[in-house]
């Protein structure tokens, strides 16, 4: 009797297509790239603003082209997906116990959304309109 174990290698590049849950995970990871690029564009915008009104106006015009709008829409969708999925897993990473009782996961998720709404409202009040 000889031992000859056989290992079925996982595909190094295509593994994430083998299960819907892996695809969802990769979408969540890829969302960071969209958010990163969006942040980069924002930084470029601030830099252009420092160069004066004409430079800033031309920057603004460039973001309003079809490619700019398409990217902004995609970045928005990915940002929402990122937020949704991360808030959803917060009870796992940060379980809370209050006076000996575990706080239900739904409450922790809701608290994050509430914080998100308050922060958004604060930003809107500060720089909006």
């Amino acid at each position: 009797m000889s031992r000859r174990p056989y290992l079925r290698e996982q595909s190094k590049s295509g593994w994430w297509l083998s299960q819907p849950r892996y695809v969802r995970y990769m979408m969540r990871e890829v969302s960071a790239a969209f958010i990163g690029i969006y942040a980069l564009i924002l930084i470029i915008g601030v830099h252009r603003l420092s160069q004066g009104e004409i430079a800033y106006a031309s920057f603004m015009a460039s973001t309003k082209g079809p490619a700019g709008l398409l990217f902004a829409a995609a970045a928005m969708l990915f940002a929402v997906y990122h937020t949704l999925t991360w808030f959803q897993v917060t009870p796992k990473a940060m379980p809370l116990t209050l006076s000996g009782k575990r706080v239900p996961g739904g409450v922790i998720v809701a608290a994050h959304w509430l914080g998100f709404a308050v922060a958004s409202a604060a930003v809107w009040l500060l720089v909006g309109s």
Partner: protein, 247 residues
């Protein structure tokens, strides 16, 4: 008396004859209340005595009958045939070498499990006649969920990080390390740290979460690992803020 006939497509591998695994199909008359393990047992008893697989308790306690059912890691005793289509593809757990048919080599896991020292490391040894290490219900509640692990390896099979890099300590071992770290009777957290808080430890996990989705005992290893990451990051910063507090 059979209620439904199904086809089991089982991955076979005989290390003495085969160069690679291949599928073999069996037609099995199933009863309404059968689990997949019953159907496999039917094959073994009536159709093909050469089929090898592990099983013992038939009630999701022993953790022996983990396999991939239509690509999804599951306990064969915990999966009703009625919940599957007419054809069930049965494979050994992914990410482990196949010893024979549905039996996988679990040596790698056993080494990793031992490496995280999954037992209570008490501050001082106590003789049996000195009585129990007492614990309040609240102290028990902190870690109880993680004690439910039955080492069935479904989490390792579902984890793409382990599939890509088998030096990863992996979900079950890290969840058990967390279980003992949370135990009020245990002082072994720093002793486990070298393995747990290393790159192949918690930091190899990218929170895919598949381990928790397939866990038959709701252990939630993904949660355990994320909590360990937070605690470990806390340790890292405390080392600079309060160096005198370290061991």
């Amino acid at each position: 008396m059979s209620d439904r006939t199904i086809e089991l497509e089982i991955l076979r591998y005989d290390p003495e004859q085969d160069d690679a695994p291949h599928f073999q199909t069996y037609t099995v008359p199933c009863q309404e209340d059968w689990v997949v393990l019953d159907a496999i047992n039917f094959v073994k008893e009536n159709l093909d005595r050469t089929l090898s697989y592990r099983w013992s308790c038939h009630m999701a306690v022993c953790g022996s009958c983990g396999m991939a059912l239509n690509g999804e890691p599951a306990l064969a005793c915990h999966a009703f045939v009625r919940d599957y289509p007419e054809r069930i593809r049965i494979e050994p757990l992914q990410n482990f070498p196949i010893e024979r048919d549905l039996v996988v080599v679990m040596d790698d896991f056993m080494e990793k499990l031992a490496a995280v020292r999954p037992y209570v490391i008490a501050a001082e040894e106590k003789d049996v006649e000195d009585g129990e290490h007492l614990q309040t219900p609240a102290e028990l509640a902190r870690y109880k969920q993680y004690t439910a692990c039955i080492n069935c390896l479904l989490c390792y099979s579902a984890c793409p990080q382990y599939g890509l890099n088998d030096s990863f300590i992996g979900p079950a071992a890290l969840a058990l390390a967390h279980r003992y770290n949370l135990d009020s009777r245990d002082v072994g957290r720093s002793a486990r740290e070298d393995v747990v808080a290393s790159n192949p430890g918690i930091w190899e996990c990218s929170f895919v979460g598949a381990c928790s989705e397939v866990c038959p005992k709701s252990v939630d290893p993904a949660a355990a690992i994320q909590q360990t990451k937070i605690a470990s990051s806390g340790d890292y910063f405390m080392k600079f803020l309060m160096p005198w507090k370290r061991k």
